[in-house]
């Protein structure tokens, strides 16, 4: 643990006049794991892109092994021994592991323009051994699990003789077993003298892995220190810049007795099993679950996007035989999907077109379904103003020109236009900044207060604890726990998600 491998001095970068990074300084030591944390939009990705040579800083300098380092492109970074393991894996799923690892530079058969397959197979085998992955180098990547693909990425990084490996949210799609394996490997790499930058939202992981921690907020380093001196609560306060209590609006919902949505033994083979739940009027019901627990799939089934084999769904006591999105919308059910870009918005259409999309029928008259655009634009303006969507013009600005938070508001606005009775929101605050999060929570809170029922699906326990009246926990397609507001306990909820509390399940 001697000497700095990488040093960043006064790095500053602005986009369109807004500072994404301001005077950032830190150093990475040899054989150390540096944990980099911060809210979304704090500047982590920008910083990593600068180190990776994807973008150039406006000011400041970097030093690699005490030599000035200013990469002109990603290839420069790779040549200098810096490897990136991205959040979304960058593997070609249709090629084999060996081909993926050597995609940048295939060894040739002497002077012939043919790939030396025997050589790449041999080298790949060694690399896979070093990451403890026991599969054939010829396996097509498509067949590998997300965790195994991650290991292939690491093997690929090692093949370029990388000394610095940057991990960006590596565990989001991994099972707990795979995560454990990955951590083992990271520790092994550290012992071998590699330096690692580890970016994650999961503070517990940072706590376990990191030697040093750098915390970013609004493009500035707000804390730089030794892991041992920081508690998770410290980290959160640094990241947020205020106490946890102020992250959520004051609750004012008052759930009533009438059940608006009822599921009875809803099952679909391999996806969800025997799901029964009741959503009451004015209630905010949270569903917590890890990746692959079936939480999103359940929401899709309720909204009629996916089918189910057994069980019944009742809306206001009325059984609905074949749920379809059209049917769900008729029953005033709204669905804010987790994937805004692909399923929520028409990115290249205007804000007005997006907001009006679901309720066009409301503004149409005569048999031709002629649209009364004047009345419609009035309503769009009302909703946009109420949600405080920041944009040039509702009629001219495209959805893709907005920030994540404002895009989410457009999606919410689209459904508000329908005056929904049941709101299903899947990961409502994914990819939006703290301020916008607060606004989204306030909107949900207000809706529930006015009598709508809300089903919130999230992978962040704190979020659910902050806004829900009741939380259900899902694991492997089943409900494994139910907590009323006065029983909320983060540890208990997470235990239920790992099926370690079967006795408390209701």
């Amino acid at each position: 643990m001697d000497g700095n491998v990488l040093e960043l001095r006064n790095i500053t970068k602005s986009f369109f006049g807004i500072k994404a990074l301001n005077d950032v300084n830190f150093e990475l030591k040899k054989g150390c794991v540096l944990g980099l944390i911060g809210q979304n939009g704090a500047g982590k990705s920008t910083l990593m892109n600068i180190i990776g040579g994807v973008i150039q800083p406006d000011a400041g300098s970097m030093k690699l092994y005490d030599k000035p380092y200013c990469p002109e492109g990603p290839i420069d970074a790779i040549k200098n021994g810096i490897a990136f393991i991205h959040q979304e894996l960058n593997l070609f799923t249709n090629l084999s592991i060996a081909e993926n690892i050597f995609i940048n530079e295939f060894p040739k058969l002497s002077f012939l323009p043919l790939i030396d397959k025997r050589l790449i197979r041999k080298k790949t085998k060694q690399l896979l051994e070093s990451v403890n992955l026991d599969v054939s180098p010829d396996t097509i990547v498509e067949r590998l699990s997300p965790g195994e693909r991650q290991l292939v990425e690491i093997a690929k990084a090692l093949s370029t003789n990388a000394n610095i490996i940057i991990f960006d949210e590596p565990t989001t799609s991994l099972t707990s077993r795979e995560t454990e394996k990955l951590f083992g490997l990271i520790k092994k790499l550290r012992a071998e003298g590699h330096s690692i930058i580890y970016i994650s939202h999961i503070l517990e992981d940072i706590k376990e892995l990191a030697d040093d921690i750098v915390i970013l907020r609004d493009g500035e380093v707000v804390c730089k220190g030794c892991n041992a001196n920081l508690t998770i609560n410290n980290m959160i306060s640094f990241m947020v810049g205020r106490d946890m209590d102020q992250m959520y609006p004051e609750k004012k919902s008052n759930p009533r007795q009438d059940v608006v949505l009822e599921l009875e033994n809803v099952s679909q083979k391999g996806i969800v099993a025997n799901i029964s739940l009741k959503l009451r009027k004015g209630e905010i019901l949270g569903i917590f679950g890890l990746m692959g627990s079936g939480r999103t799939e359940l929401a899709r089934i309720i909204f009629g996007l996916d089918e189910f084999e057994e069980g019944t769904i009742r809306v206001n006591g009325k059984t609905i035989d074949k749920m379809k999105p059209e049917e769900a919308i008729k029953n005033k059910i709204a669905f804010v999907t987790e994937n805004r870009r692909e399923e929520g918005l028409l990115m290249s259409s205007t804000i007005a077109d997006n907001i009006s999309l679901v309720s066009l029928d409301k503004f149409s008259k005569y048999i031709f379904k002629f649209i009364d655009s004047k009345y419609m634009h009035e309503c769009i303006k009302q909703i946009g103003d109420a949600l405080k969507i920041k944009c040039h013009s509702y009629l001219a600005s495209q959805a893709k020109s907005l920030s994540g938070g404002n895009q989410q508001k457009v999606v919410i606005g689209k459904w508000l236009m329908l005056e929904p009775q049941i709101f299903i929101v899947d990961e409502p605050t994914r990819g939006i900044d703290v301020g916008a999060k607060y606004e989204v929570y306030s909107i949900l809170n207000e809706l529930a207060f006015q009598g709508s029922s809300i089903l919130v699906i999230s992978s962040e326990v704190e979020e659910l604890i902050g806004i829900c009246d009741r939380i259900l926990v899902m694991s492997r397609g089943e409900i494994t726990g139910e907590f009323a507001r006065h029983q909320f306990d983060k540890e208990q909820i997470i235990r239920a998600a790992f099926r370690q509390n079967v006795e408390t399940a209701v």
């Binding site: 399923e343 929520g344 028409l346 259409s349 999309l357 066009l360």
Partner: protein
């Protein structure tokens, strides 16, 4: 800081500030023209003005009439293609719809058939006879045949739509297959012979005028108004754009996307049929190879107008300009006495430029709004 200093001096890198500012205005105006909806119309008019002095016949009244009479049937077909492109599809079967409906309509209403030519046709004897088709000579023959043609065209569009929407097959494949199938079927029915002897009232549709206004013009304009109306003022129109922009988001928003897709192809078949009626009546015959070489004209003219092949973007009025430009170009090349092949080479180059231009325009638009 440096920029502030520059702002005070009258020169920027040795060039007078005024000049740069003037040029800036030029650039801004140029951008405005480039981004304008009417760009293709301007282009057509400039093209016409530049070429007219060199090719005297180009601006003659007769030739202008010729240009317009070429324009109307193509416009009808292209209006349908526009709607299909808006939903991010493509309809390659339109040319065969033209041929097939032309044959179907004409065998119903033809009033005299030459037995020497048609005795080999599979329709001979039970359907066609020396005295013409089953509706020959009846008062309602023309209107009935036209309705049958429309029904046939819509049915082909419906089949395309069902395969594309319900079986998620690529539109390119499905419509290419129906192009082959119905194109060949039309030839099979008549053994590649033209069906003559169409009723006078049908022929007058494509050739006569109502108070100096050609019927074909009226029909094309009505069809365009219908398409424009659907796209801009109805719920269905919003749905068409939404499905073309993002199918997944449309489904989540409760849009009956399959029905919307089927509608687009039915409408495309309908438009192709209207085009076929105009072409058949102008040529005074039902022709099994009719339209077989205008596929590039249809798609090309639509794309030149500005409708994007990636879906979600397009207008009927753009297509009107695109068709106008395309017909003007073909006419001019014809008058210059170029060969068929040379004309196609030039047309191809123009379509490529138009597609490139579309990409450029989108990029400029994105960068303007990125700020």
């Amino acid at each position: 800081m440096q920029k502030c200093k520059e702002a005070k001096s009258n020169y920027i890198i040795g060039v007078p500030r005024k000049l740069i500012q003037n040029n800036k205005n030029v650039i801004i105006t140029a951008k405005k023209v480039l981004m304008s909806e009417y760009f293709v119309l301007y282009l057509s008019l400039i093209f016409f003005a530049v070429l007219a002095p060199f090719v005297p016949r180009f601006a003659s009244l007769e030739n202008i009439g010729n240009i317009f009479s070429n324009m109307w049937p193509l416009l009808c077909v292209a209006a349908g293609q526009t709607i299909v492109l808006i939903i991010a599809g493509i309809d390659l079967s339109q040319t065969s719809v033209i041929a097939f409906t032309s044959v179907i309509g004409s065998v119903f209403m033809t009033q005299n058939v030459n037995p020497d030519i048609f005795s080999k046709s599979p329709l001979w004897g039970w359907f066609l006879s020396q005295s013409g088709g089953p509706l020959a000579g009846r008062g309602y023959a023309v209107i009935c045949s036209i309705l049958i043609m429309i029904a046939t065209g819509c049915l082909i569009g419906f089949l395309n739509g069902v395969f594309i929407a319900h079986f998620s097959m690529p539109p390119f494949m499905v419509t290419l297959v129906s192009q082959m199938f119905f194109g060949a079927f039309a030839i099979y029915l008549t053994k590649s012979e033209n069906v003559m002897g169409l009723p006078k009232s049908f022929i007058s549709l494509g050739n006569d005028e109502l108070l100096f206004i050609p019927y074909s013009f009226i029909i094309a304009v009505l069809l365009c108004i219908l398409a424009h109306f659907i796209l801009n003022f109805t719920v269905l129109g919003r749905y068409l754009y939404a499905v073309g922009t993002n199918v997944k988001a449309s489904v989540v928003s409760g849009i009956p996307s399959k029905k919307v897709i089927i509608f687009a192809y039915v409408f495309s078949g309908f438009c192709a049929t209207i085009g076929s009626i105009l072409y058949s009546s102008r040529l005074q015959m039902g022709r099994p190879t009719m339209g077989s070489n205008i596929l590039m004209d249809i798609v090309g003219a639509t794309v030149i107008g500005g409708t994007s092949m990636f879906g979600g973007k397009g207008k009927v009025i753009w297509t009107v300009f695109g068709v106008f430009f395309f017909v003007l170009l073909a006419n001019a090349l014809n008058l210059l006495n170029l060969s068929y092949f040379t004309i196609n080479i030039v047309k191809g180059a123009i379509i490529l430029l138009a597609a490139l231009f579309d990409v450029m325009r989108t990029r400029i638009f994105a960068s303007e709004h990125g700020k």
